[in-house]
Amino acid sequence: MNFLSEYIYYIGAFSLIFIGLFIVLAKKNLIKVIIGLSIVDTGINLFLITLGYIRGGTAPVFSKPGLKAENMVDPVPQALVLTAIVIGVAVLALALTLAIKLYKHYGTLNLRKIKEQKW
């Protein structure tokens, strides 16, 4: 059980990442693939946050006096995650837009059938 409590966050984060990657690799519907990418992003964000966690730590905000710097979690991953989320959103928005356009052109979102550009 020690293992689980030690690594449960990592396991969770990477489970999400690999589930997402599996979707990207194996699924044929474009929307699902995009969802997969989004899951990967979420997983990564989770992973980054986990990196900065300190057992029993508080948020790095000195909102009230008496908060000790030693107890605070690492602020850097949080800043990174903020950026990563925005990037994820941007990619997601663009991907969905492209999916809309693609559907207009092909009438399908099945990636196995959208194979005009090849060789």
Binding site: L25, A26, L111, I114, Q117, K118
Partner: protein, 618 residues
């Protein structure tokens, strides 16, 4: 006078010609001729001088060097002269074809780069000019469109193949010895392992052999020579492939040096014999293939390969006489093959592009000067005594026999008899026999075509009677290589093992000819009759069947043609096809299915991780 000025004139002139063509056609023509002549004239002044200069230091760490000595002078001068004749010949030839600015520019560029190759004093500048020559040639070969396209692509692919091999050789030399300058490299290979020397040799020979069309590397030449515009064929055949010859001489006698070369391998498997035997094969097979050709220029193209074989044989054989013969034959071949291509070109010009030997005939009446050019050309090609081809061939036979290589000599001699057959066919089918009716109104070749033809014809006779002129130059080249020079006089060569004196021969032939002519004249005068006024053994032959040219050597053709498929060409073509198929197969990995693409990414990553976990490679 600086050597770099020559190059500046040559390259600058090429560009200038292009732009002057935009202003005035006349000016461009004059300029093109002028530039080529000026180069030749300037080069002439360099006779018997030797100088060396660094002309450019901007290329990486290599100072690019130009140098001239008798060796390079000989080649450069020949090339410049043949080049300027070709340009003069082009004046009317190219007028009909359009795109003339381009033509002259490329032509001058080819000539300039060839001179650059010859004058360069280090391997890097050699290579640079070499490649400029390759691509400018490529751009000119396909000028005629149609089948010339395939010819061009074949040429450039082979050329690039060769030059990359040579590039490896050059850089390898540099990495071993830290220099690419001829004079510094010279003899350094003396201490190298013979394996390394052979490695270098093979690399260079791929490039040089392809240019020089040595037998298994010759496949680009027949289509390229036959499809290029005729004046350019003259340049190609007369000078461009000789760049390969120059390179081989340079490699063997300047860089590797004769003593290393002769000791490379032993007996039959020595480099010397292998190259010489390749030369012999290059004489024989193309000669026989030339016999089967029905296209005038293709016939000449195969003949070019065969003659290049003589040159290679002579150079590689390594005796002082054989080397002299190789270089002399280079000189002669440049003259007579340029002449022959011009003759064919003139006919092609007047008949609107006909070069099929089966549909010409009887043109002697219409184009007498051209015919005489052709006659003297084939005499030189065959090596009829008193033409220049004779002395060089005589030298090679002699040295081969005296040095106990009768099989090589046999190949060379048999090649000559094959030459008689195909060159007579060339002459007969174009100029002799019955004139087809459609050519009744043919005019003579224009003056700008006749002029180079006449000059080159005279040159063939001149150097046939006075072989000492070029041999003197060759002699001084040979002493530069560390070979024992020949004992020569202006009329010929004297030595213990065999002497030739063209004066005797000339006087004898001349006197006897006069004698017979007198007898001929003295007897009853003959009545001139017309062309169709023929004896037909009492039958009437239909007019259009009066000319016997199709399948001229039919019986022989039927005998040998099954054995003479150009299987080397087939081999290269199948190689190309299989690369194409390979490419078509490989690009199917890009299936168009993005799922696969993602899998590739993961595969790559997994592979790296797997290798590291499993083997701890990194």
């Amino acid at each position: 006078m600086n050597l770099s000025i020559i190059l500046a004139i040559a390259f600058g002139g090429a560009l200038l010609t292009y732009f002057s063509g935009k202003i005035s056609k006349k000016a461009r023509d004059v300029l093109a001729v002028l530039i080529s002549l000026v180069i030749a004239v300037i080069l002439a002044f360099f006779y018997n001088t030797s100088s060396r200069e660094i002309f450019y230091t901007g290329f990486l760490d290599f100072p690019l060097i130009l140098r001239i000595d008798t060796f390079s002078w000989f080649f450069a001068f020949t090339i410049a002269v043949i080049g300027s004749f070709s340009i003069i010949f082009s004046l009317s030839y190219i007028r009909k074809k359009g795109n003339t600015d381009y033509y002259y520019t490329m032509m001058l560029l080819v000539i300039a780069s060839m001179i650059g190759i010859i004058l360069s004093g280090d391997l890097v500048s050699f290579y640079i000019f070499w490649e400029i020559m390759s691509w400018s040639t490529f751009l000119l070969i396909s000028y005629n469109r149609g089948p010339a396209i395939a010819a061009g692509i074949k040429y450039i692919i082979m050329s690039v193949t060769g030059s990359v091999a040579m590039l490896v050789g050059i850089i390898s030399l540099y990495s071993h010895y830290g220099t690419v300058i001829y004079t510094e490299l010279s003899g350094l290979l003396y201490n190298a392992s013979s394996g390394y020397t052979i490695f270098i040799f093979v690399l260079f020979f791929i490039a040089l052999g392809i240019k020089n069309a040595i037998w298994p590397l010759h496949v680009w030449l027949p289509p390229a020579h036959s499809e290029a515009p005729s004046p350019f064929s003259a340049v190609l055949s007369g000078t461009l492939i000789k760049i390969g010859t120059y390179g081989i001489i340079l490699l063997i006698y300047v860089i590797v040096k004769i003593n290393v070369f002769l000791n490379l391998g032993e007996g039959i498997v020595s480099a010397r014999y292998i190259i010489a035997v390749t030369g012999a094969i290059t004489i024989l097979i193309p000669t026989f293939i030339a016999l089967l050709q029905d296209d005038a220029k293709r016939l000449l193209a195969w003949s070019t390969i065969a003659q290049a074989g003589y040159i290679i044989l002579g150079i590689a054989y390594g005796t002082s006489e054989s080397v002299a013969s190789g270089m002399f034959h280079f000189f002669n071949h440049a003259i007579f093959k340029a002449l022959l291509f011009m003759v064919v070109g003139a006919v092609e010009y007047r008949t609107n592009g006909v070069r099929d030997l089966n549909s010409l005939g009887g043109l002697i009446k219409k184009m007498p000067v051209t015919f005489v050019g052709g006659l003297i050309g084939i005499c030189g090609l065959i090596g009829v005594p008193l033409t220049n081809g004779f002395v060089s061939k005589w030298l090679i036979y002699k040295t081969l026999i005296i040095n106990n290589s009768p099989f090589l000599a046999f190949a060379a001699l048999l090649g000559t008899w094959g030459t008689i057959l195909y060159s007579y066919k060339l002459l007969h089918n174009m100029f002799l026999g019955q004139l087809p009716e459609k050519y009744e109104k043919l005019e003579r070749a224009p003056f700008s075509m006749q002029l180079p033809i006449v000059i080159l014809s005279l040159a063939i006779i001149l150097f046939g009677i006075l072989p000492g002129l070029p041999l003197k130059v060759i002699n001084s080249i040979e002493s530069g290589f560390g070979l024992e020079p020949l004992t020569i006089n202006i009329w010929g060569i004297t030595s213990d093992t065999g002497t030739i004196n063209m004066l005797n021969l000339f006087v004898a032939v001349f006197l006897i000819g006069i004698m017979i002519w007198l007898i001929f004249k003295g007897s009853k005068k003959s009545a001139g009759i017309g062309q169709y006024d023929n004896y037909a053994a009492g039958t009437t032959v239909p007019k259009n069947k009066y000319h016997y040219s199709v399948d001229f050597y039919g019986p022989l053709h039927r005998m040998i043609s099954p054995y003479l498929r150009d299987f080397i060409d087939d081999f290269y073509m199948s190689l190309a096809r299989s690369i194409k198929n390979l490419g078509n197969g490989i690009r199917r990995i890009y299936t168009g299915d993005v799922g696969y693409y993602a899998i590739y990414i993961m595969l790559f990553l997994a592979l790296l991780i797997f290798i590291q976990i499993k083997w701890k490679l990194w």
